[in-house]
């Protein structure tokens, strides 16, 4: 076997392997649409997305997922409010301030946090955090938006922190040196030079962290309480879309209206995460040249 043929075989093997993942994705999307679209014969797209009543098994059923969409958005936004500052600031500390020994430990711990199975976090939220929350604030229920957001924030922090950290490392040394040379303090350098030049990477990190939170299932299923109503305060229960799909799919009769409605909810979720990813991609492309300017 000549080197030439070997090279060719390897090349094609890699092509097939990468095509497989592409095919898998295409098949999943096709399946999602095939199973979800039939619901729109029973209910219009407008009534599905903006309808406020979710009673898929009543007769006649009502398939309005507005409360579920609102639930998803509320927990995602609130968890981002917690996770974004924590994630970014810990990234800044790790990449710019921490001494080498602390850096190693912190990085390892954050990676460990990323590897924590979501069901473990969900269980912790349900059994430890929720009862504590309920007793401390004397609430009717501990399974609410606030606890769910807190748990989701814990899941989003590693994503935000590690991607922002990469972005901070990518800031050219010359920028820092120039800043110090002009007499800037360390804080001024971080706040006015390093963070602004890593901003595209940090934005990507935030958006990917949010995408992680909106798609997360187990934690919201276990901790958000699951009420399919519009929340009135952050201590009300909500049912985000992934929780609704996970809880109901198991027993929805095969190819019934309810089954199709759950897949259609999946389509909505798919478009939301797709939008997040496109925005992240756009930002990282748009501002790419700015970061590594020609100095």
């Amino acid at each position: 076997m000549t080197r030439h043929i070997k090279e060719k075989i390897i090349k094609n093997l890699f092509l097939v392997l990468s095509l497989i993942s592409l095919m898998v994705l295409a098949l999943i999307v096709m399946f999602l649409f095939r199973e979800g679209l039939p619901i729109f014969r029973e209910v219009s797209v407008y009534d599905f997305i903006f309808g406020s009543e979710w009673y898929p098994t009543s007769s006649p059923p009502s398939y309005g997922i507005a409360p579920l969409i609102v639930g998803s958005i509320v927990v995602t936004v609130l968890s981002s409010l917690i996770a974004v500052p924590l994630g970014i600031l810990s990234a800044v500390y790790i990449s710019e301030i921490a001494p080498a020994s602390a850096k190693e430990i912190l990085k390892a711990v954050i990676e460990l946090l990323a590897g924590l199975p979501s069901v473990v976090l969900g269980f912790f939220g349900m059994v430890v955090l929720a009862p504590w929350f309920q007793d401390t604030f004397d609430l009717p229920t501990g399974l609410n938006i606030a606890t769910a957001s807190l748990m989701l924030a814990i899941m989003a922090i590693p994503t935000i922190s590690s991607i922002s950290e990469d972005a901070l490392y990518a800031v050219p040394r010359e920028f820092k040196e120039a800043s110090y040379a002009l007499g800037a303090t360390k804080f001024e350098t971080i706040a006015r030079v390093i963070i602004p030049s890593a901003l595209s990477g940090i934005s990507t990190a935030v958006i990917l962290g949010m995408a992680r939170a909106i798609g997360e299932t187990m934690v919201v299923l276990m901790v958000a309480g699951g009420a399919a109503a519009f929340p009135e305060s952050i201590f009300d229960s909500v049912r985000p879309m992934p929780a609704s799909i996970a809880a109901e799919m198991g027993e929805a009769p095969f190819r019934s209206g309810h089954y199709h409605a759950l897949f259609a909810t999946g389509i909505v979720l798919f478009f939301m995460t797709l939008a997040f990813n496109l925005v992240a991609d756009y930002i990282s492309r748009r501002f790419k040249e700015v970061g590594s300017a020609t100095l």
Binding site: N12, L15, V16, L19, I20, E53, W54, Y55, P56, T57, S58, P67, M126, V127, A130, P131, Q134, P140, T141, G142, L143, L221, M222, G225, G226, A227, A228, A229, D236, S237, R239, A243, A246, A247, E248, G250, E251, A252, P253, F254, R255, S256, H258
Partner: protein, 276 residues
């Protein structure tokens, strides 16, 4: 063209691997379905496999709908269900050449449960109905403390919910503020930690960490469920494709026999009445 051939070869390899694993599975029994029936079948399969070494039973939950779906797709030998198959499911099964056969294996009673600190002991059908519709919202209206009622329900497609809807809600809708939990175990977990809460679980799940309520003054028990006195009871089923054969038939016989029914009782469900 060459690439296409390579892809085809890859596809054929994948297909034959999957085919081989299906062929292997035929030597064992696969059971899938309702989480309500799960604890019974779990104990029964353990006992059965101990008594019949060499038989391999693979068991998974997922819900009644999942089990029936698997039966229709012929990926399971037995489907556990906490409800009768729906007409449209039977129709779909028949169109795929599957003849579902129903086997009653136990009776389940559904019990409203509250926290141990809740002084309420007894609720009527009507009171439960109004609580679940969101029309009674404070425990003091039904003889308890001045606390808000946190209604906890199951996902609307679970078999337990369906029975609850039939026997308690009678067609009315559950308040949208009701919390949703995806399993009997989760309801036990939540209610045992929340003094505001009310939920409902299968009789087998009532334990010392929470309090089962009487309904219309009647305590849920094997005796009252069998006699029909207790108002919220339902049969549990196993479905097979046509007359069961081989190990599947043996297992069903075991399940319905004295040993299987003893397990049903041990797991907190109600055994079938003895055949006369």
């Amino acid at each position: 063209m060459k690439k296409l051939v390579r892809l085809l070869i890859a596809a054929v390899t994948c297909a034959s691997v999957i085919g081989a694993s299906v062929a292997l599975a035929e030597q064992s029994v696969i059971i899938k379905g309702s989480t309500t029936v799960l604890p019974i079948v779990q104990a029964a399969t353990e006992a059965y496999m101990k008594a019949h070494p060499g038989v391999n039973i693979s068991l998974s939950g997922g819900g009644s709908g999942d089990g029936i779906k698997a039966l229709i797709d012929k990926t399971t030998d037995i489907a556990d269900s906490s409800r009768s198959m729906k007409p449209e499911e039977i129709e779909l099964a028949k169109s795929k050449g599957v003849e579902p056969m129903e086997h009653k294996i136990a009776i389940d009673a559904i019990v409203p449960v509250v926290n141990k600190d809740n002084p309420v002991k007894d609720l009527s059908n009507e009171q439960l109905n109004l609580i679940y519709q969101g029309k009674i919202t404070n425990w003091k209206e039904v003889g308890g403390k001045d606390l808000q009622i946190v209604v906890i329900s199951r996902d609307t497609s679970s078999g337990t919910y369906e029975t609850w809807e039939q026997k308690i809600l009678k067609g009315a809708k559950v308040t949208p503020k009701a919390q949703l939990q995806a399993s009997n175990g989760a309801i036990v977990q939540v209610v045992s930690k929340n003094r505001y809460a009310i939920g409902y679980v299968g009789l087998g799940y009532v334990n010392k960490s929470l309090k089962g309520l009487k309904v219309n003054g009647i305590q849920a028990s094997s005796a009252t469920a069998l006699s029909g006195e207790y108002p919220i009871a339902r049969p549990l089923f196993m479905y097979t494709n046509g007359e069961p054969k081989g190990e599947t038939a043996n297992f069903l016989k075991f399940m319905k026999g004295a040993q299987g029914q003893k397990i049903v009782k041990e797991e907190g469900f109600v055994p079938l009445p003895h055949k006369k």
